[in-house]
């Protein structure tokens, strides 16, 4: 068994215990199956509706992945701009912070009014909710560069861009990736909110919409199955990024006890 698999064992064991407890609780008649379906019912619903769930997964996954990508691009670009220009920082930062104070559901409703039922307003909601953690962590990361390294680069006559390229950006990368990780987890929330605010046309409106529709139709097992798929999507995104981080910023991942 690889070490990574061994490390995952406790989490898997805990999940099995929790699911087992849930099964026992429902089976012992603690709650009506319509209110809380037992795990085996959820599994059956997932199996029977595999095609429907897979088709609904697609738009949601698109919103999450594209939204995070857009948020990363916008967040990184704005972070660099803010880092390099004091006036820009003073102009943009308060607005960026303010944009977070407006409830995202309100923004979603407004954007849909404006942009209609397609993927665009949903992407906008996901991007908006993901953009802030990327921006803040990257701005902090850029500022965290070692002052002495900047001095050294000055003795080498490095230009502003070279300083950014050879010192500040690499120094900011681990922080930016942490921001991306936060962004990915909130992206799933954003996608759900955007979908549940939307009257979507077409047979496969996305998992968020599916969950709401199923709950309204008292199809609780299928709603739970859809939620489980959403859950799996979030976890898959998170670990994909963790793998990516090891490739892109391996220096930020020293084995423990090797710090000098």
């Amino acid at each position: 068994m690889t070490r990574r698999a061994r490390n995952a064992l406790p989490a898997i064991a805990l999940a099995l215990v929790l699911v087992g407890a849930w099964e026992v609780y429902v089976d012992s008649g603690g709650v009506q199956p319509l209110v809380l379906p037992a795990p085996h019912e959820v599994a059956t619903a997932a199996w029977e509706n595999a095609g429907l769930l897979a088709h609904n997964l697609r738009p949601t996954a698109e919103e999450v992945v594209l939204g995070v990508a857009l948020a990363l691009a916008a967040g990184l670009a704005l972070a660099i701009a803010i880092h390099m220009s004091g006036p820009l920082r003073r102009a943009v930062y308060p607005l960026a912070v303010g944009s977070q104070a407006v409830p995202i559901a309100v923004i979603a409703a407004l954007l849909i009014y404006w942009w209609g039922f397609g993927i665009v307003p949903k992407l906008a909601v996901v991007t908006l909710i993901c953009f802030f953690p990327v921006l803040v962590t990257t701005v902090d990361g850029l500022a965290s560069v070692d002052e002495e390294q900047l001095k050294l680069l000055r003795t080498m006559d490095a230009s502003r861009w070279q300083t950014l390229r050879f010192a500040e950006l690499p120094a900011a990368l681990p922080a930016a990736i942490s921001g991306a990780r936060i962004a990915l987890t909130v992206a799933v929330i954003g996608a759900y909110i955007a979908e549940s605010q939307t009257a979507t046309t077409g047979p496969y409106p996305g998992l968020g919409h599916e969950i709401n529709a199923d709950l309204t139709a008292l199809q609780t097992p299928r709603a739970y199955a859809a939620a489980a798929v959403l859950f799996a999507l979030a976890i898959a995104c998170f670990y994909t990024l963790a793998l990516l981080e090891r490739r892109v910023a391996p220096w930020a991942h020293r084995p423990r006890g090797e710090h000098r």
């Binding site: 080498m156 050879f166 690499p170």
Partner: protein
């Protein structure tokens, strides 16, 4: 170790007012003072340097020794143009700095770290790495080219930083405790290598160290400084043939003189 630097850029044909080579590669520090606004509670300012005058002629190795707090690092930063003096003047060509902390970039391999100054001077990556590779072999770093800084020993990191300084292509080298983290044996090897290399391709060097012996083995002249405020107590000429052994009676005699100039232990601790 066969010492060859081959790191200097082609001489640029820049005309400088009164610009002899001598002028350009000498370091001239005249009556320089530098005071820092203090960060301590008393709010008293700290005078790092008080009327310091030093001169290193072209291709001379000037060692600056003194206890901690005597403004050695400030002096180097002034020479490298990282700070401006409060009063006095500094004349010198652009200088490369080897800082006390190696400051290797953790995201670059050892070879890329060494080649950093060349990359910044717009040398192609492959060429920059090739030039660093030659010096790696000479300094016993062969085989560690792709290692990340955290995988290297302290001594190796300092040697990588040293290669980076040599490759900066500056006429003047400012070395801040360059061999401080090395074990005694590696340090002696590095001394021999540096003397040899400077004999082959002379450079003007300002070497800051707290090791009096190292100063005498390497330098043409030794300036002895005292702390609080940083000032030059005296200068010592080391006109001994190279290579110099540390047990050479003349080296030992000079070392005693230098230590004498620094004051008795009692005086030093009282300062």
């Amino acid at each position: 170790m066969q010492a060859q630097l081959k790191t200097r850029p082609e001489p640029r044909s820049r005309s400088q007012p009164g610009g002899t080579r001598e002028r350009r590669q000498a370091v001239s520090v005249r009556e320089v003072s530098r005071t820092y606004a203090s960060r301590d509670r008393a709010g008293a300012s700290v005078q790092a340097l008080d009327g310091v005058s030093l001169h290193a002629a072209e291709h001379e190795v000037l060692a600056v020794v003194g206890p901690s707090g005597c403004g050695k690092t400030t002096l180097l930063e002034l020479i490298c143009g990282l700070q401006a003096p409060d009063s006095g003047s500094i004349e010198c060509a652009p200088a490369a700095l080897m800082p006390q902390r190696d400051l290797l970039m953790p995201w670059l391999s050892a070879l890329d770290n060494a080649a950093l100054a060349l990359r910044i001077a717009h040398v192609r990556r492959a060429d920059a790495r090739a030039r660093a590779r030659e010096l790696f072999a000479e300094l016993g770093l062969a085989g560690w080219e792709e290692a990340r800084p955290h995988e290297l020993s302290g001594g190796m990191r300092q040697r990588v930083a040293f290669v980076r300084t040599l490759l900066a292509g500056k006429d003047i080298l400012c070395l801040d405790e360059p061999f401080g983290a090395l074990d005694a044996i590696t340090r002696a090897d590095m001394h021999a290598w540096l003397s040899d290399a400077l004999a082959q391709e002379p450079r003007t060097v300002v070497l800051v160290t707290h090791d009096v012996e190292e100063a005498i083995v390497l330098a043409d002249r030794v300036a002895i400084m005292a702390p609080r405020p940083g000032r030059v107590l005296s200068e010592l000429d080391v006109s001994l043939p190279r290579p110099r052994g540390r047990t050479d009676p003349r080296v030992v005699a000079l070392r005693e003189r230098a230590l004498g100039a620094l004051g008795s232990p009692h005086e030093r601790l009282a300062r």
